[in-house]
Subunit: 395 residues, 2 copies
Amino acid sequence: MSISEKVRQAMAEGSWIRRMFDEGAILKERYGAENVFDLSLGNPVMEPPSRFHQELKKLVKRPLPGMHRYMSNAGYPETRAAVAEFLEQETQLKFTADNIVMTCGAAGALNVVLKTILNSEDEVIIFAPYFVEYLNYIDNHGGRSRVLPTDELFLPRLDILEDSITDKTKAVIINSPNNPTGVVYNETLLNQIGKLLDQKETQYGIQIFLISDEPYRRIIYDGLKYPSPLYHHLRTIIITSHSKDLALAGERIGYIAIHPRCKQQDELVDGFIFCNRTLGYVNAPALMQHIVKYLQNVTVSITDYQKKRDFLYNNLVKMGYSLIKPQGAFYMFPRTPIEDDVAFVSELQKFKVLVVPGCGFGAPGHIRISYCVDDRTLEGSLHGFYNVAQKFGLS
Amino acid sequence: MSISEKVRQAMAEGSWIRRMFDEGAILKERYGAENVFDLSLGNPVMEPPSRFHQELKKLVKRPLPGMHRYMSNAGYPETRAAVAEFLEQETQLKFTADNIVMTCGAAGALNVVLKTILNSEDEVIIFAPYFVEYLNYIDNHGGRSRVLPTDELFLPRLDILEDSITDKTKAVIINSPNNPTGVVYNETLLNQIGKLLDQKETQYGIQIFLISDEPYRRIIYDGLKYPSPLYHHLRTIIITSHSKDLALAGERIGYIAIHPRCKQQDELVDGFIFCNRTLGYVNAPALMQHIVKYLQNVTVSITDYQKKRDFLYNNLVKMGYSLIKPQGAFYMFPRTPIEDDVAFVSELQKFKVLVVPGCGFGAPGHIRISYCVDDRTLEGSLHGFYNVAQKFGLS
């Protein structure tokens, strides 16, 4: 056996998202990319905002001495300070550079946080449908995933959450705006979750971290203000990246922010820095750190995404699909008219439309549509959605 | 307890290198950076070669569409192909893009490889003095480090290696040119190691990977040709980065290359790609991948490093220090004239010279000097080295 049994097994189970990516590649090869409507990946087609290009040009024109060298494992003090300033502006909480650790994207940040806090067999609660990598990340560091169902609006059910927290619970991961549903958790719900965690911490004499995975925080529609979990639980850890808001997914730039009033912050941040180093990330890529410090108030055009959402949502509803209208991110998660979501995905593939079956997110009977694609792809996909809807008797 | 017990303990034991970094920061604050001679970190003071800046400028002037998006977790096909072409040129072995996975530096690469191959409790052999992070990386993925001593030239002892390989041995990590000693493993030794591994594989019916960690491969002196382990064991995995050869340490760009005649290569590469994703690296930073594909034949000035080596080596020898002349990398590892290397390091600190005690590399009774610094720092350190040599009776 050349590779580890665990990795072999995990690979065999595979990721539906990547499987779709590979099948898509075959279809594109066969029919030409322009004839395949790939709505399977969260890989924004948008380019970074023009401010990004301006700052990059400026820096490249006048390089700073030593700007590609190692820096502190936590990141550049100026970048951390810029992130803290933005967070303070947004939340009115007194963030400082010491609350921030720059990371290789949100995926790097999540691994760093989980490695830092988890003892072997500690439990981490996640909600289905979930971003499938959570299972891998939790397992990487010896934790156990506890997957809880959500209600018909894809929101956590407090009664089930209450029953599921034990003295082994170390963290609850929430993801709002949500991948794959596009749902945004409201203030009331966050408040209830926070209160419940406080109460359970007292009951069991433990600390429970609320890990808020927020890569889509700034992609939010209809003028909604982002409801932050920071107001509802002191042991909140924010995880985010600039993959989506600045369309820099391939550059691996993100950060961890710890609640400035979390009592354990010094020890935690020391742990994050240590794990950022020892997990082999070492530091967030230097060049991107130099750039994003100027871009904390910049995002890609949210209006464009909202238009795409409206276009696709309205069309799918007209065709008879049943789905929750997304309030953020760039995904929607319709019910499939037949139980077997994998079969449904295969039907769509016949029309060269690629989406991911809900079972890949722990929620069979749905499909995830990623609409961070160009309008031509969205428009082109309608024919397939319509025909399959007809076939399965929607109207 | 907010952080994991294991992380807390590892942090308490700490890294000597980082401890020196922190003490150095305090000294620099107190006396001014120009009065402190910091030889403690492998953070090259050199800037990337001019070709790097040219390519970066070109790319930024004419950005490629989608050049900051996700790509395949293995990296861009063109970048992988460019690396393969370089390796084929260098080794005459038929590398292709399929043998290469681009990673977030060599540290990322090592973690990806270890995660891919290690079952719980598998043993990984390393040689002291060693790069201290090996212990963390092996532990991250449930492996056990087996640390073996080296001979008076810092080369592995074959008799001890032979006795130490068991049916639980999954890999041997070698690091040539070596951090912290600067030693380069010769062809004969590599051949003997390769033969021994082949023989032990047959004896136990197992596969043993030779992981060659080569970030300093191209920093090699006196016209020496790099002796590659690739000729001596089919299950060789090359790990490297452009941190040192292109002075891009902060950018986190490196790769894994599997021996093109390794029979398990397909399964292994699939495993590497999977673990690159699931460990949260996702992919090597996109922008750097676009650049380094043009720079496979470029390095920083080796002549400059060789001059620094000669200057420091000759002066230390004159002062009576006992040390092996480094053939590569930018470290030297003299014996301390007193047994207690930590006390010796403190003596040097009184003269504002910062180095790392050998105990941080599993080899007490030595110090590691990193000479990838500017000449002023090297020159300034001589006063301290001289005075401490005198104090301890060297001549």
